[in-house]
């Protein structure tokens, strides 16, 4: 009889996949609606099969134009603009994941279907557009044989690359199109043998004395064991002179993008929250990163909402957990953030552009666009606006997926598209 009851329960849990979640707009801003937590036999999933851009481009908000700055990359993930205007394109992918459980094998198949298994070139390509017309006249391999690189930061003549396993320093005099000097390791970062959230985002402090590195968790919700989470799900502060580090903020599941808010000078991050407890749980977010703060992962989400999947539970830590500042809605997968301090896009000044790579465990899909969160007085002020869309075509195929965002020398917005293997450039239209 108990077996029959369980079977009925299973059928109910499966049928819950067909339910339509509340609109993502209910989860954008300071106080997102959080539904009751659900646990599934098969969590809701929807992935877009891979399409292609052909002669199309993404769509942009009124008053903007978009064109490809360059194409033909191998999995471009991050962008960094050097002081002379050269654009660095980080072409990268994560290390192969060990198959730990039967589930990992299945997920590998599903992600491969959506093109997420593409191999990155593990290099940085330089683009130079001397006259700023959006057509680069120099394209050169700037740095190669890197180890799943992601973050880049220049301080003076020191160029730092955040590989998945270490921050490495290279000499950069200014104007080179290629660096051949061997790098010098500044600090090891948590990496293999399991290296689930492998992207190490990075910014330098304004005075150049510190580097801040976002280190993602090694699991969805500690299923690889707590030992695998040492010094992860945190923003590291690394002393540039000594390489010593401390955990600046913790409990941020996967801080994939870091930047300085221009009005307050505070550090902000975008982060990817946990999966498999519902299409509207947990919202990914944009938040200021406060020194010493704990943001909940893994024990709780969005402040002090306890996650029953974590044992042993740490109520002492849950009590300290603070909610992030601004929800972006669930599973949008923000992978890049940049505050717009340039003059090129005047209607978007002072706020944050965010590249939303797009959901996999939600139906209908969410994200797959670049949004802008307006700021005023150092705080988010208003709803996120769609800036670049059209990554999913009419047939439901993904033509591209946005990742890193940057502002170029002319003030245009650059967007790395790791599925379309393109860097897009958004300028003010006529």
């Amino acid at each position: 009889m108990r077996g029959l009851a369980l079977l009925a329960g299973a059928a109910l849990a499966l049928s819950a996949c067909g339910e339509k979640p509340a609109d993502p707009s209910t989860q954008v801003g300071a106080n997102p609606q959080l539904p009751k937590l659900n646990q599934y036999l098969l969590p809701p999933m929807k992935l877009a099969p891979v399409g292609s851009w052909g002669n199309n481009t993404p769509a942009v908000a009124p008053g903007l134009k978009i064109a490809a700055l360059a194409t033909g990359f191998q999995h471009p993930r991050q962008l960094y603009v050097l002081p002379n205007g050269d654009v660095l394109v980080v072409e990268s992918s994560g290390p192969p994941e060990p198959i730990h459980r039967p589930k990992d094998f299945i997920i590998g198949l599903i992600q491969g279907h959506a093109g997420a298994g593409a191999k990155g070139a593990q290099r940085i390509t330089l683009l130079r557009d001397t006259n700023g017309d959006g057509k680069p006249d120099v394209r050169s391999v700037f740095l190669e044989n890197l180890v799943s690189p992601f973050g880049v930061a220049l301080v003076g003549h020191d160029l730092y690359v955040a590989n998945t396993d270490a921050v490495v320093r290279y000499p950069y005099a200014g104007g080179e199109t290629r660096i051949t000097a061997p790098g010098t390791k500044l600090t090891d970062l948590p990496a293999g043998p399991i290296d689930h959230h492998w992207t190490k985002s990075m910014v330098a402090s304004r005075d150049g004395s510190k580097l801040y590195v976002g280190v993602g968790s090694n699991s969805n919700i500690t299923e690889n064991g707590m030992e695998a989470e040492r010094e992860r799900a945190a923003v590291w502060e690394i002393d540039r002179a000594t390489g010593a580090h401390r955990l600046f903020a913790t409990g941020i599941r996967n801080p994939t993008g870091l930047d300085w808010e221009p009005a307050s000078g505070q550090l902000w991050a975008v982060a990817n929250e946990r999966d498999e407890i519902g299409p509207n749980l947990v919202p990914d977010y944009l938040t200021s990163v406060k020194d010493g703060a704990f943001y909940g992962w893994p024990f709780s989400y969005y402040g002090q909402h306890i996650d029953p999947r974590v044992k042993p539970q740490r109520l002492d830590l849950v009590k300290k957990a603070i909610p992030p500042d601004y929800a972006l809605s669930s599973h949008v997968a923000p992978l890049g953030v940049v505050f717009n301090t340039g003059a090129g896009l005047p209607q978007y000044r002072g706020g944050a552009f965010i590249g939303e790579h797009g959901s996999w465990d939600r139906s209908p899909m969410n994200g797959y666009k670049v949004v802008y969160v307006p700021f005023s007085g150092g705080r988010p002020a208003g709803k996120a606006q769609d800036v670049v869309t059209g990554f999913i075509d009419a047939a439901g195929k993904a033509r591209g997926r946005p990742v890193g965002v940057a502002i170029d020398r002319t003030g245009a917005l650059l967007v790395a598209d790791d599925l379309g293997n393109t860097v897009w450039r958004v300028t003010a239209g006529r």
Binding site: R2, G3, L6, L7, A10, Q39, Y40, L41, L42, H100, R101, P102, K103, I106, S219, N220, I221, T222, E223, N224, G225, E276, D307, P308, R309, V310, K311, P312
Partner: protein
């Protein structure tokens, strides 16, 4: 001199070199599902994820072999009317069908992340699967040792 038909043992249809295949396969899922229960209990007591991971592999492997055990068992059941005439054969088949469905659900439960991949639903299903299999395994041996299914004449 061959036995008259009414004295011959019910025949096994799925055979290899004259040996019935089904009885060679069944110990594997039985062992896997008993071990799943054990690793589930250890996980529930220790919270050490390695034990939950062991459970997921044991369940998955047990089910793959169970699939072949079901195919060969069904072949024997369908292949000889004298097998179908035994009440224990029906109960054995239906019971194992239920146990297999529970184990399939359990694979999905164990594919969750963290504590709730085991406690409480996964552990409950593991207990039920083993309890049902204890009865069906008894019935299966009844088919061989009492009714002589597949035994050479």
């Amino acid at each position: 001199m061959p036995l008259p038909p009414e004295h011959r043992h019910p025949r096994s249809t799925a055979k290899i070199f004259g040996h019935p295949i089904h009885p060679m396969l069944v110990p594997i899922p039985i062992t896997c599902f008993i071990l799943t229960l054990l690793t589930d209990i250890v996980y529930a007591e220790t919270y050490d994820q390695q034990w939950a991971t062991a459970s997921s592999w044991l369940l998955a492997f047990g089910l793959v072999v169970a699939l072949f055990a079901i195919i060969t068992g069904m072949t024997d059941f369908v292949g000889d009317k004298r097998v179908r005439n035994i009440r224990a054969a029906w109960l054995h088949g239906i019971g194992n069908g239920v146990a297999s469905i529970l184990a399939i659900i359990n694979v999905f439960v164990h594919s969750r992340d963290g504590y709730t991949s085991v406690v409480p639903t996964g552990l409950t299903l593991s207990i039920l699967t083993v309890l049902i299999m204890a009865v069906t395994a008894w019935l299966g041996s009844t088919l061989v040792y009492r009714h002589g299914v597949g035994v050479a004449n």
